[in-house]
Each structure stands twice: as C-alpha cells, then as structure tokens.
C-alpha cells in the first residue's frame, strides 16, 4: 500500500483530483466495513478515511454521530477496527487514513497507539480535536513510523495559522469547507472558492476539501475551484446504513463511481 503522499504524487503527475470517501468502522458491522473498503477501492476511491467510533464526536453532525453510537452499542473496539484494516492489506490499493478523536489515542499512549495502527497498515491519521498547538506530540512519533498526520484548516483560521498548519500538515491539508460540523448540505459554501487560492498561496502540499460535500455537483465544483482531493463522509455513511448490508454496499459503490467520474472529467 502506498503512502498518502505517494498517492497524491501519482495523481498529480496525471493531473487528477483524488476522491476520499469516509465510512464509520463497525456500522452496520465489521464484515460490512471490510467489504466496503474493497468496494470503494474498486469503485475509484484513491484514499479511504475510516472513522473510529467515539462516544463524544464534537466535530461530527447527526449522521456520523448516529453511526458511531450504533457501532459503540455493538461493542466495536479499536483492535477490531485495526483487524479489518489488516485484513484488506494487499487486497486494496487505496491507503487508509484513520479518523479518530484524541482521547482514545491518549488513553492508550501515543507510542503504543501508533505502533498498533502502523502494524495494521494505517497510512495516515486525522484527529479533528487536536489543533496545531496540541499536535506536536503526535506529529513526530507518527512520522517515525511512516504515518502521516493530516491537519485541518478552517474557514475561520487566520492567515498566520493557515501558514503554520500548512507547514506542519503531512500527506495533505484538510480544508474544512464550512464553519460547522460534518454532515450533508444542499450546496458547497462559496467561501471555498476564496479559501482554496489563499491556502494554495502558502503551500505546495495537496489540499483536500471536506465537510458538507454530498453530491456529485459539489465534488465537481470543488475540483474546478482547484482542490487536489474531495472528501465525502456523511453521504457515504448514510447510504451504507440504509437497508440491508448488500444494498448499502451496492449504493456506496454506485455513488463512489459517480463521484469519481465527475471529478475525472
């Protein structure tokens, strides 16, 4: 499995925009999560963000909160999530980025957590409640283990912060498209159009745009505004959780192909 950075280098050489779907691990169950990773990989996902269910997901809207609550009710544990990641090694080409809140990392101990996720084959981390000031202690030991920690930039971040975050972020920079939590919205905030060039001016690292992107038109819009990657979460989680697991898998495969085709034009 390539690193996140490798993945972007290849796409960039081909002039392509990456598609990054997000799903919550263990919803509706771990078997489906394993299958979903393969399905998404085959349907055009370039990188896959896998959410570790957490009891207090502050950055998440109702869809992902509900998915996490369902998974926790089933007793899903980090080790099981990592077993799923390990089980798809060699079967999928897309690197897996783990989306997890900070407390489970801290509780386990940063080094031990990183050893475990690295051994499972995780290539990157997104920790939405760990801003730049608190991230230092994770960035360095992660790098030593070949794991890239992706930092987030928000519409409210002032220029000096944007620069500092861009400098420290690894793999790519996660541009949060809205002032708000995750979840589907009817349109992409037009602010993104201004945020993208501002961020581009201070970095040559790839930029992924996420939060609130739920339709192919949104993805296309964001790509045209110059994003290197489009991140779609709640819309996948919602589809995967609707109906029986096979129906959910079929729905996310179609949706993934759709998204990929509009951003490949």
């Amino acid at each position: 499995m390539p690193t996140v950075s490798d993945c972007f280098s290849k796409l960039r050489a081909k002039g392509q925009c990456a598609l990054i779907p997000f799903i919550t691990a263990g919803d509706p169950d771990l078997d489906t999560t394993a299958k979903a990773l393969e399905v998404l990989d085959q349907a055009g996902a370039d990188i896959i963000e896998l959410g570790v269910p957490y009891s207090d997901p502050l950055a998440d809207g109702p869809t992902i909160q509900a998915a996490a609550t369902r998974a926790l009710k089933r007793g899903i544990k980090l080790e099981q999530v990592l077993q799923v990641v390990q089980s798809v090694q060699g079967k999928i080409a897309a690197p897996i980025v783990l989306f997890t809140y900070y407390n489970p990392i801290f509780y386990r101990g940063i080094e031990q957590f990183l050893d475990q996720v690295a051994a499972a084959g995780v290539k990157g981390l997104v920790v939405p409640d760990l801003p730049l000031e608190e991230a230092e202690g994770l960035l360095i030991p992660a790098k030593e283990r070949g794991i890239e920690v992706v930092l987030l930039v928000a519409p409210t971040s002032p220029r000096e912060r944007v620069e500092a975050i861009a400098q420290k972020s690894q793999g790519f920079i996660y541009l949060v498209s809205v002032t708000g939590v995750t979840g589907t919205r009817t349109e992409v905030a037009s602010k993104v159009k201004d945020l993208l060039p501002n961020l581009r001016a201070v970095t040559d690292k790839p930029i992924g745009v996420g939060f609130g992107i739920s339709q192919p038109e949104h993805a296309q819009q964001v790509k045209n505004w110059g994003a290197d990657a489009v991140i779609v979460g709640s819309a996948f989680v919602q589809r995967l959780a609707t109906g029986k697991p096979e129906e959910g898998l079929k729905a996310i495969a179609e949706f993934c192909q759709n998204l990929k085709s509009v951003i490949s034009v």
Partner: protein, 412 residues
Amino acid sequence: MTTTPINPSQTATQPDSLGRFGQFGGKYVPETLMPALSELETAYQRYKNDPEFLEELNALLRDYVGRANPLYFAERLTAHYGKPDGTGPQIYLKREDLNHTGAHKINNALGQALLARRMGKQRIIAETGAGQHGVATATVCARFGLDCVIYMGVQDMERQALNVFRMRLMGATVQPVEAGTGTLKDATSEAIRDWVTNVETTHYILGSVAGPHPYPMMVRDFHGVIGQETREQCQEKWGGLPDILLACVGGGSNAMGLFYEFVRDASVRLIGVEAAGEGEGTLKHAATLTKGRPGVLHGAMSYLLQDEEGQVTEAHSISAGLDYPGVGPEHSYLKDSQRAEYYSVTDAEAVEAFQRLSRLEGIIPALETSHAFAYLETLCPTLEGSPRIVINCSGRGDKDVQTVAKYLEGNG
C-alpha cells in the same frame, strides 16, 4: 463601590500560554473554534482590569445579584457536630444560595454576558445540567436583550422541569438534547457543535471551570468574588483565615471560586466533594477525581471517567449538576499537586444532608450543595479542637424538592 480587578495579582496559579495547569487544560477543539478562543482570551485579558468594565460588573453584582452575600454562622449545625467536651468545628455557610437566581452560577453568566456585549456578539448559547446555569444565562440575556439558546439533556429537562419553565419564562429557547444519556455531557457536546457552526455571531457562556482555555481561568476568575468576600468576612468575624473550605465538585466552578483566593494560604485545607451516586464501587457514580484517569473531554485534559478503550463513560448522580464524567482541569492540578483533597458521598448521604440542613437551619440546599454538607459526617469526627469550616452553600434546593420526595418514596 471599589473596582477591584477580577484577578488580583497576588493570587496563585495561572495557566501557561497554552492554558495548561501542569499537564491539565489546553485547547482540544476543532480548528474552527481556535480563532474564537483566541479572540475570547484577548477580550478577557483586555477587560478584566478595565475600570469601566469592572465598575459595570461590580454595580450589577451589587444591585442585581445582591452581593455581597453573607457568611452565616450555622449555630445548630455546629451544635450537631459538637463534642461532649464543648469543642467541635465551627461551621459557616457562604450564602451563594441567596444570590439572584438562587445559586453561584450568576456570577459567571453576568461576567461573560458583559464580555459578549463588548465583543459584539448578540447571540448567546449555554449548556445546563441542573438548570441553574441555564437559568442564570437566560436571566442575564433577558437583562441585556440578548438572544439565548440553552442546551439541556432530555433526562435533565424532566428532573428539573421547574428550571425549564423559568428559562422559557425569561425568553430563552431550551433545546432538548437526546444524544447519549440526555444529561450534562451531551448538552455540552451539542452546545460546542452549535458554537462551531455559529461562532462568528455567537458567544458560548460555558458554565463551569471546564472546557478549553480560556474558560477554566475566566470562569474561575468571575467566581473568584466568592473567595474574596469570604476572606474579608472571616477577617471581620474573627480576624483570621478559615481553617477548612468545603465545596461540592461537578465541573467545579463553585469550589474553584471559593478555593482560588486561598490556594496560597497553606494553612487552609481545601476539600472538594464529588458525587459517588450509588457508590464508588458501582458503575453508577460521578466521582471523576477519585475514580477517573486523565483524558480529554470538551476541549480540556483533566481527570475523566472512561473505559478501557478511552471512550467516555456515563456518569450518575441524583444531582443533575454533578452528573458529569469530567471535571475542571485546575481541580486535577490541585489534586495531583496535593494542594486540595477530594472525596465523594453517595446519593443517599446527600439526600440525608439535604434534610438535615433543612431541619437544623431552615435552609434547603440544592442537591449539588448537599454533597458538601454530607461530607461533614465523615470530616467532623476526625477534627481536633474547634476549627472554622466555611462551606460554599452554592445553591438553594427549591428546584430539587420533587426529586427528593420521589427518592424518599422509592427508598423509604
């Protein structure tokens, strides 16, 4: 009235530039909120010593809240714990329950509302557990004509129905939160999500010494008036310091407000009392400092009730205001540095104390506050001589009579 700075320079611990008290505190929030926290910190630093701000705050604390409130000698409670030889602790109550709205919470709500106005924020949000902070926030919003949304867990709305009515009466929107256990933790998460979404127009009046920096410091400072008045009143009454300060701890704002002034007075014992719910040995308690481990919740590192996976666990207490799996980071610091002591009492012990104070002093304390009174049962027999104890009588118990009646019916 003199305009004393909120934060006299001779007082003790300040968090460092990242908002840390030792390893505790910090800012663990989504990036979207980081600029708002900086803006808030800048505004707070600017106004906390500003004469005009302090004059307005102090005038309102006097004329609207009714400060200074008394330090009351509880004669019959003292007699109750007296020893046959005539010695025994002398027990005084700092009467925060006599404040407008019936609890200490208004000190902070008022301070933050004045700050929000100066920051040009017209919309206010807050979380509430027992409803006391929600009522205090709704009150100051009515007073200043600010839009007000209060997040409250559905379970708490049921057990504190009277406070829900009071908030609505004063024009606030009470937003029910169904997530999780429908208690204070979930209400706080939802308030933070609202703030992430509406940060440009909204100020979040966080109600405890918890949350990301600068809240633990700022909320403590706004409640610092409790300890400052206590010092003066002790001086007036017996010309010295208290020997022991006693307060209940959920998030820990009333305790921090009383303790902070005395942190540097090494002779003063600081004792915080948490909720042991159905017992520390059960899974149904809220004894964060006694039974928790360091972790991150709602933007700060502090002691936390959590499971082996680092998932935050559900707290339990008969008192909605203490029903919280986290605690303010400065309390964690005071615990680890052994400057303060923390113990816990059960629901049953708190309900007994609720009745005892009502019968002996004609003062019905809040269930939260009753936890501090309940610890006297354990503490008093261990004390030599006649030390002076000041208990923060942080709130009145009118809101709790139904809960207690129901509890006594079920356990009678």
